[in-house]
């Protein structure tokens, strides 16, 4: 029927117009073609092949399928293909070595670094239907120069987990990680974020950009207290094993660690240090020069849905930027303070941010481990 066909073409036109607007380059396609719709669908047809995703372990076909199930349903020809990143530095190395993912997922502290590196391009939020449900403070953290370089997804806090039946902290402070009374029962996290925690404890104004002198102080503190540490953990399940076997009573930890230890029947407290906890947020970033930007947007949209968000909260114990989603566990809800949109930023917590002298921080931390 001519009417239906008209309707169809009009619907196609609107969507395709939006998509075309988002595409950088390839404008020549539109010129000289009869009918925007035809041009738009021709352009859409150009995005072929599987979507190349660079993500952390557990978020691909190794367990994270529910996060992007919606995308797979709507784009069966462009199923995602995963390469795994051990951490952002590893991702950086892989990209420099020639890997060409379409999108990847560093954390909020790296947004500025990647935004200014020339390796990524901004997203078009208009193409992400779930964008309006995302926590505005997290969204802001993903912006640089007014552009949306990062789309927030999972998030959590860094704070202190301790056994209330074994430990009596002198104060609600990061200092519990350096408490001489609990020698051999403390676990630190294997990341430069320990330097930030040390800086917070020492009272530095900007712990993400410490001066040389401040860095030396932080390093000195960490080295001098290292003898109290039983293990410097790097994978969460390491931590669970240490806590579960009572090898460790105090640890630098995430909200889900508290939930899991409580499930094991341990008497644990997730403590908010008075110097403020640190908040971290995962950020999807779009690689420059990708041939599948629209597919990437669709993938991120699937990830940002309330359904995926709830799955993430229920199964991995992290928060999700989608503010509608609620986990089944009331404990997790409390630990993540999900009813408070401002939880991730001041005055409640310090959002992790760019570290201008990251290489120096890294070297400092490596030397702490080597000492």
């Amino acid at each position: 029927m001519p009417e239906e066909k008209d309707l169809l073409e009009r619907r196609l036109s609107r969507e395709d117009l939006l998509r075309l607007a988002a595409v950088t380059g390839g404008a020549g396609l539109v010129a000289g073609r009869t009918g925007l719709a035809r041009a738009a669908s021709a352009h859409l047809a150009k995005e072929t092949g599987r979507l190349q995703v660079l993500d952390w372990a557990g978020y691909g076909n190794d367990g994270g399928q529910s996060m992007f199930a919606q995308y797979v349903k709507t784009h069966p020809q462009n199923k995602p293909r995963f390469t795994y990143m051990g951490n952002e530095a590893d991702a950086l190395a892989k990209i420099h070595a020639g890997l060409k993912p379409d999108l990847f997922r560093p954390y909020v502290g790296w947004v500025k670094y990647f935004a200014t590196s020339g390796l990524v391009q901004p997203w078009d939020p208009a193409l992400i239907s779930n964008f309006k449900h995302l926590n505005p403070y997290m969204v802001k953290a993903g912006q640089y120069g007014g552009k949306q370089y990062g789309i927030p997804d999972d998030w959590g806090f860094d704070a202190i987990l301790y056994r209330s039946d074994k430990v009596k902290p002198k104060a609600k402070s990061w200092g519990l990680l350096f408490d001489e009374r609990y020698k051999g029962k403390i676990a630190w996290y294997d990341d430069i974020t320990m330097i930030q925690a040390a800086g917070l404890y020492l009272g530095f104004k900007n712990t993400w950009n410490q001066t040389d002198d401040q860095l030396k102080q932080s390093q000195k503190l960490l080295i001098s207290k290292k003898h109290l540490v039983r293990k410097i953990w790097s994978s969460e399940t390491d931590l669970w094993q240490l806590f579960g076997s009572s090898d460790v009573w105090i640890a630098y930890a995430w909200p889900n660690d508290w939930v899991q230890m409580k499930k094991k029947g341990l008497k644990v407290v997730y403590m908010r240090p008075k110097e403020k906890p640190i908040a971290w947020v995962g950020m999807f970033m779009l690689l420059k020069g990708t041939s599948r930007p629209q597919l990437a947007h669709a993938y991120v949209d699937a990830w940002s849905s309330a359904k995926s968000a709830k799955w993430l909260e229920d199964n991995y114990g992290y928060g999700h930027a989608n503010t509608i989603a609620r986990p089944s566990s009331s404990d997790l809800l409390r630990a993540l303070q999900l009813t408070n949109l401002r939880a991730v930023t001041e005055p409640n917590a310090y959002m992790d941010r760019d570290i201008p002298r990251r290489a120096l921080y890294a070297k400092t931390w490596e030397q702490v481990k080597a000492s």
Binding site: T83, A97, G98, S235, T237, D238, W240, Q241, G244, S245
Partner: protein, 271 residues
Amino acid sequence: MDVALSRNGRIALRALFVLVVLFLYLPIVILLIFSFNNSELPSFPLSGFTLHWYHQFLTNGDLRGALQTSAIIAAISSVGAVVLGVLASVALTRRRVRGRAAVSALLLSPLVIPYVVFGISLLLLFHTVGIPRSILTVVIGHIVISLPYTILVLVPRLEQIDVSLEEAGYDLGASRLRTFRSITLPLILPAVVSAFLIAFTTSFDEYAVASFVVGTRTTFPIYLYSALRFPNQLPQVIAVAVVVISLSLVVVVAAEVGRRVAERRLGTLES
């Protein structure tokens, strides 16, 4: 009178030997006990007998995949190492080689390099040349690692064989290749098999180099290493450990016994 050991000495040393062997096998026995223990945490007191963990690991697809990957890598790399090892050993024992010391040193040098250095150097090589990390890159690394072992097994055997047997072959008009195939090869076959097994077990068990160059696949040791951090996977891993250790013990013993029997039958052992 025994010139090397007094009676007391012998008793003392025997006791020491027994103690050490117990010490060596005790952790393995403990693994065996806890593989049947009905609890997630391996600790005393015991919680009852169960076959659950064995069942779990048999149905664990990831684990099977890792075992398979390791087996493939081990098979290919040991064949490669043995082939290269035979070439090198024949050259070293049957030919005049100029700069023999230097060549031997080079061929044996992977024995002394710490694997962390070697793993990293391979990582850099592949990054530079642009070869993506995969099973192939692990195979390449494992051939390098296993090659010295194969040479160390083959060279003594080749030296042991009476050269005049090969000479007879030439006298009868056979080409070098023919002589090798018909005379030398059957005689060194037990050593070749031994070399293959050593290369296989070395590769199958190798973690360090594989962790650097395997890319996205998982080998068995890599699976183990990450599983060691998963408390709920620990009992399963213990069950696997028992199976793998038992199997390798059986293989090792069978291989060594087989080799000795074969070599004795081939009748070329000296004195």
